[in-house]
């Protein structure tokens, strides 16, 4: 086996050095009644070439663009990824290194993550950002637990227009804690009904997502005012990080903690993971943040360098009193996001975000003109909820046969939106593809 370099001679010499005769003698400390006597029921080893054939065939059984036209977002977005990002990210010095506990040997990762933290803080309008979390859903759950720690209150309210899977993950994390979760309904406009919150006084946090699951741009400022008036923190979530190239940042609208998904920033969808949990806060909450943080420092000669810092919050020091159990994060995905943000630049991200919005508006208007009801009146970024003449679901299935994935049917998550779908348009959708979708919908 090519990954195992030992020759028979090596093994004999090494066994001799440790005073044993056979490899199996190495396991004398394992009691006989703990040993497995059989052979693992696994396929026999494959050559590199046979493996490539097998996995290639599996990959061939997936529906992807350009064979399929994709109008599916809902927390996982199709964006153009510059070749430079994939190419630089594949450098094995980044890929095959460990968490930089020995900083002098890992300044590449450390400076890269420090830059990621900085660009993330700028994107979200916050003061500090962590080195990354698993995904947007777990980042949101961690943000809410953080709010509980900061406020000492044991109840949180979530907008029902937050991604349904994110709300499910939050419920999973909260289930054994005894902390209470409330859901805030949304209005006919597609925006969260924050007026409902005014009577509730003992919340640790109010959580909102903007753009929300329906693509609608929430009034985060109003949400922050309501939250703060009751002494709660505002946790602002997102699934489409690119939106902040164009929209007001959550930080500029009064959010205390921002948590969301950074997959849009140069990370392939990869059937949902790995993605990138982004988490940022005000500086005053820095010591309550979960997960790793990179900080700037100096070496003995006074030169700039970077280290993991504030580790006394973390599990390997604080054990059960840590701010989280997280250890591995999604560092390589964070590095990809930094490379992507650096490639776009301030000018580029604004232009690309505007292009996403313009294209989505084009399709939204074309569908409306073709007689498809646009469910919510509020402005949207690059997703919107729509109905199709004769019913969304039947038409959606028919379009699949024509190799068009016309968004996500919503009935499973929102019974009141049965026969509606969530459509996403990014810069990867051409006008021709959109025109074709409209033709097929009304045909």
């Amino acid at each position: 086996m090519r990954y195992l370099p030992h020759t028979g001679e090596d093994i004999a010499a090494m066994l001799g050095a440790v005073g044993l005769r056979e490899l199996d003698d190495l396991f004398e400390a394992v009691p006989v009644d703990c040993r497995f006597g059989g052979a693992l029921n696994l396929p026999e080893a494959m050559s590199e070439w046979a493996l490539e054939g097998h996995v290639g065939r599996l990959a061939g059984r997936m529906a992807v663009s350009p064979e399929y036209s994709m109008f599916l977002g809902a927390g996982s977005y199709d964006h153009c990824i510059p070749t430079t990002v994939s190419s630089l990210l594949s450098r094995s010095e980044f890929v095959t290194s460990y968490t930089p506990y020995q900083p002098e040997m890992l300044q590449g990762t450390l400076q890269g993550i420090y830059e990621y933290q900085t660009l993330t803080a700028r994107l979200l309008g916050m003061e500090v950002a962590t080195a990354s979390h698993y995904d947007g859903a777990t980042a949101l759950a961690e943000a809410l637990l953080m709010a509980v720690r900061i406020t000492g209150r044991k109840k949180a309210a979530l907008s029902r227009a937050i991604h349904p899977h994110y709300r499910q993950v939050v419920r999973t994390y909260f289930a054994p804690t005894g902390y209470e979760l409330l859901e805030i309904p949304y209005l006919e406009t597609g925006l969260t009904d924050f007026d409902r919150l005014e009577e509730i006084r003992d919340l640790a946090a109010v959580a909102v997502q903007s753009p929300n699951f329906f693509g609608c741009i929430e009034n985060v400022t109003a949400a922050a005012e309501v939250a703060h008036s009751g002494g709660a923190l505002l946790v602002s979530g997102f699934t489409e990080a690119l939106a902040f190239g164009l929209l007001k940042s959550p930080g500029s609208q009064g959010a205390d903690i921002v948590a969301g998904e950074g997959q849009s920033l140069g990370i392939p969808r990869s059937f949902g993971g790995p993605a990138l949990g982004m988490l940022a806060s005000r500086k005053k909450h820095m010591r309550s943040l979960p997960g790793r943080l990179v900080g700037r420092t100096k070496d003995r000669d006074g030169r700039r360098g970077f280290v993991l810092t504030l580790a006394t919050r973390e599990q390997h020091i604080r054990r059960e009193k840590a701010t989280s159990n997280i250890c591995s994060n999604n560092s390589l995905c964070a590095l990809a996001a930094a490379m992507y943000m650096a490639s776009l630049g301030g000018t580029g991200i604004r232009e690309l975000a505007a292009l996403n919005h313009d294209k989505a508006e084009y399709l939204k208007n074309a569908l409306r003109d073709a007689g498809c009801p646009i469910r919510f009146s509020s402005p949207t970024f690059n997703e919107f909820v729509v109905g199709f003449p004769g019913g969304f679901d039947a038409r959606y299935r028919r379009l699949l046969d024509r190799k068009i994935v016309a968004g996500l049917p919503l009935g499973a998550h929102y019974p009141e939106l049965a026969d509606h779908g969530l459509i996403c348009v990014t810069e990867t959708c051409s006008r021709e593809e959109m025109d074709r979708l409209v033709r097929e919908v009304v045909s």
């Binding site: 086996m1 195992l4 093994i11 090494m14 190495l26 004398e28 400390a29 394992v30 703990c34 052979a39 693992l40 029921n41 026999e44 494959m46 493996l51 290639g56 059984r61 599916l72 010095e93 290194s97 460990y98 968490t99 002098e104 300044q107 990762t109 933290q117 660009l119 950002a129 995904d135 947007g136 859903a137 777990t138 993950v169 999973t172 994390y173 054994p176 804690t177 741009i217 929209l247 007001k248 990869s270 059937f271 949902g272 790995p274 993605a275 820095m286 420092t297 070496d299 280290v307 599990q315 390997h316 159990n325 999604n330 995905c333 930094a338 943000m341 650096a342 301030g346 690309l352 990867t428």
Partner: protein, 485 residues
């Protein structure tokens, strides 16, 4: 260290991203605008983030230079104990980048994602065979999230039986993630002291286990590199009092096809695909932490689950006992795919040989360093060996200083100061993918550091001198945190 692997070459400086660039540059090929402009109302838009504008070559040079300041498994021996820094095969990277997978949307209808679902289904079966457990979830994003998922299952199990418990037993050698994961489920960790032989005695567990204790979290082999030989008896004691045995599979690389956790009393086990199954660590992640359980606990696994019927695969959510979803989608699929490719490349015999050679390499290092470093336990080890700083205490040289000096020799240092029960711990896990010659080089480098501790301690206190930077001031970083530029 004049003849060492470590040397100095030309290392280029590189400023921070925002210290480069000029407004108006771009490193991105903007797709053509083929639709009319349609601006949002001004009250919704902001100024956009203050990012530097860089050209493509600037981005390329920036990250290429940064990469040269990093040390990876592809650079050299990386013997971090407990981290299993084995070689990460190149073919796995290539397969993970197949467009059929990278471009696949997680919410595609099952009928359009059969390839990914079949791969996940197969991988679940492989991991079940390796662990001798019955059902597997691939959803947890990392080992710690696997632990949390396991604790959620323990919590759901006791709730289902009608009486919740309040405590959990955790050996004093455990990773910090164990108590932190248990605490998230409201369980108070009860430390279980390891015996003088480095393993847990059944009597200790019997004295602590009671009706208010939900179970035990046990890492086997443990973090001292020793097999918990009393595991069956410990499991019997925990089970007799209504508890569950959670196995932390972080060290599974030592015992593939040699021990199957499901056969020695473990009810729930997480595996770190980024350790045992060769997926890269990426400078700290992403990992993947699948969880395997025995049959009667399968009802509690996270949703969605992959189900097969007549050769067709689908994702199903209708499992009412489930602890729920732990990640937005179905797990770190890109990582799962690499582990799948690894298992198929190795086959059953290759996996077994990998564990044997991992243990051989660790014992070889232990044997060849034990006259200069003090072994924490005077007996053979499994996949990693642990030394204390006892022999160095009279020189005044610390474990940290030895670790820093190893860098100058061209090696990543071992894990240090863990496990906590060993004074000045040095924990070395070479893994099976290292050649005897590289092990010999590492051993010589370490012996040379130990000699220097006696004749030239200043060299250790100065170290490292051959890295991009000299010793960094971690205390100052924490005192006045600067987390963004």
């Amino acid at each position: 260290m004049s003849e060492s692997l470590g040397t100095t070459g030309l290392i280029l400086n590189e400023p921070l991203l925002w210290e480069r660039g000029k407004k108006g540059r771009s490193g991105f090929s903007m797709p053509a605008a083929d639709v009319p402009r349609n601006p949002l109302p001004a009250e919704l838009t902001g100024d956009g983030p203050d990012f530097p504008d860089l050209s493509e070559i600037e981005v390329v040079r920036h990250y290429t230079r940064l990469s040269t300041w990093n040390f990876g498994v592809d650079t050299g021996l990386y013997p971090l104990g407990s981290c299993t820094m084995k070689y990460n095969p190149k073919i796995n990277e290539k397969l993970a980048n197949l467009r059929g997978f990278t471009a696949a949307h997680p919410l595609l209808p099952s009928v359009l994602s059969q390839g990914a679902l079949q791969l996940m289904f197969n991988l679940e079966r492989f991991l079940a065979a390796i662990t001798a457990l019955d059902a597997v979830t691939l959803q947890p994003a990392a080992g710690a999230q696997g632990e949390l998922t396991g604790m959620l299952i323990v919590h759901a199990y006791h709730r289902h039986r009608g009486k919740q418990r309040t405590k959990i037993l955790i050996p004093d050698t455990a990773h910090g993630t164990n108590p932190a994961s248990a605490a998230l489920c409201g369980y108070a960790p009860v430390p279980v002291p390891s015996g003088p032989d480095g393993i847990i005695a059944p009597e200790t567990v019997a004295g602590l286990m009671d009706d208010a204790t939900a179970g035990i979290m046990i890492t086997n082999p443990n973090t001292l590199g020793l097999f918990e030989a009393n595991i069956r008896e410990i499991a019997r004691i925990v089970h007799d009092r209504g508890g569950l045995v959670y196995g932390d599979g972080a060290n599974m690389n030592a015992v593939l096809s040699i021990v199957r956790p499901g056969e020695i009393g473990v009810d729930i086990l997480h595996l770190n695909l980024h350790k045992t199954f060769s997926t890269p660590h990426g400078g700290g992640g992403p990992g993947a932490g699948p969880v395997a359980v025995r049959k009667d606990l399968a009802r509690f696994l996270p949703v969605p689950r992959v189900v097969e019927r007549n050769g067709a695969y689908e994702l199903r959510e209708d499992f009412p006992g489930s602890v729920g979803r732990v990640l937005a989608f179905h797990g770190h699929f890109g990582v799962l795919l690499r582990a799948y490719a690894y298992i198929l490349s190795m086959g059953p015999d290759g996996l077994k040989q990998a564990s044997r050679l991992a243990v051989l390499n660790a014992n070889y290092i232990r044997e060849r360093l034990k006259d200069v470093l003090h072994p924490a336990f005077d007996r053979p080890c499994m996949h990693e060996c642990v030394f204390s700083d006892q022999n160095q205490q009279q020189t005044g040289i610390t474990t940290l200083e030895m670790a820093k000096r190893l860098m100058d020799g061209g090696y990543h240092p071992p894990t240090i100061y863990f496990p906590l029960v060993v004074h000045g711990a040095i924990m070395i896990e070479p893994t099976e993918t290292e050649t005897k010659e590289d092990l010999d080089g590492f051993i010589e480098a370490f012996r040379s550091v130990v000699r220097e501790a006696g004749d030239n301690p200043g060299a250790l206190r100065e170290a490292p001198v051959r890295c991009k930077v000299k010793r960094l001031d971690e205390t100052a970083a924490a005192r006045n945190p600067c987390l963004a530029g």
